[in-house]
Symmetry: C2
């Protein structure tokens, strides 16, 4: 039996609690980060709090092994004097939407090997994609995630804006969007590239620019150039 304490009550905490409650070999306690007078003992203490609360909350914890769940914070940002680790799930969590943890990558890190094994056991109890990722790699992953998630979504928004302006339903682009994300399961993004930029089809590029607003043009030009240069 592994005793787990989850501190926090955001989306990540909610998804973890739901998953751990289904596992017989885990005994779970959850407390809010605002009520830290009497912190229950546990083998693993998971800080599922906002990034800027990691330092202050971890300072108050005496339990033997403390991990945070943040993609952008280093393991060393934990200020407990006991053992440290990270239990980071790379996925967007929202309260309304069910997430299948079997599809979620668990990125684990710990100072001590025996603590890493503990985290691995814990992740294996609720998921199946488990990776050993150190703090530097996790930061890189977090930046990469901004490109493939936030920035990609912004390109969807620009596509949507163009559709609205020309009174075309955005749903027409939906199958292409799905196909684009599916394609790179079997092909590297470099090999999957198509379109006027990679063909250096300057006439089509010029026609496209004519149709765009100034802010859209700047993005179109920069990414086209980046594709042309192979950056």
């Amino acid at each position: 039996m592994i005793s787990v304490l989850i501190i926090g009550n955001g989306n990540v905490a909610a998804h973890l609690v739901k998953a751990f409650l289904k596992v017989d070999t885990i005994s779970l306690t959850q407390v809010s980060s605002r009520k830290l007078e009497n912190i229950p003992k546990a083998i693993i203490t998971i800080l599922a709090v906002s990034d800027d609360a990691i330092e202050t909350v971890s300072l108050k914890i005496k339990n033997s092994f403390v991990v945070h769940t943040s993609g952008s914070f280093s393991m060393k940002d934990l200020k407990n004097t006991t053992n440290k680790g990270v239990f980071y799930m790379l996925q967007t969590f929202s309260k309304e939407k069910e997430v299948d943890l079997y599809n979620v990558p668990f990125c684990l890190e710990a100072e001590r090997d025996e603590d890493y094994l503990l985290l691995e056991t814990l992740a294996n109890a609720i998921g199946k994609k488990i990776y050993s990722i150190n703090s530097e790699q996790r930061k890189a992953l977090h930046v990469a995630a901004v490109f493939v998630n936030n920035f990609t979504n912004h390109l969807y928004k620009i596509g949507n804006d163009i559709c609205e302006e020309y009174k075309v339903p955005f749903e027409i682009l939906q199958p292409l969007i799905q196909e684009t994300s599916e394609k790179i399961k079997t092909l590297s993004p470099e090999k999957a590239q198509t379109g006027p930029a990679i063909r250096k089809d300057e006439e089509t590029i010029k026609n496209h620019l004519d149709l765009l607003h100034k802010e859209q043009q700047v993005i179109y030009k920069l990414i086209t150039q980046s594709i042309e240069n192979g950056n």
Copy 2:
């Protein structure tokens, strides 16, 4: 029975031929665009040729109704003196990969209403997502497709480059990429946006920039600014 002549032997032609052959109410002929000495008669003639061949090939056709399959060319770019139209499928086609035409949007246009109905009947025989799209709208769609397909794929490439540099398997990002493309089926891209740019979290943005190469930084800054400005 509708008689259809397909001119061309590229990917689009191959997918159309395969689909039409399964339909009892369509009689199909296919000829290469290089053998146009004796062009067979047909109710609908489909030019599934490369964009730059549309003008020269269409000049040689006397059949009563001629359509092209291009996203970026206008209906008026057809130079036949008979009736004109467009039969554009918005999807990436590659020869190796099977495409389910039931998921492909058919964007139709014709000069005459009765010709439009013919195209609609044809599209309905092999697909189910059918849209009336004029030449200006189709050009806008084509540009929007570059954003959500080519440019998005380039962001995947940058994500991949970052992963390679830090020796992190790119597959860790795969579930997030899928989720990002799924999310906008139910949420507008504007509402789906998350991350440091929309939160104006300048500290995280600074940390991310520190980790990137110069070319990546330029793209990161520009898209972050565009998200912050709500462009």
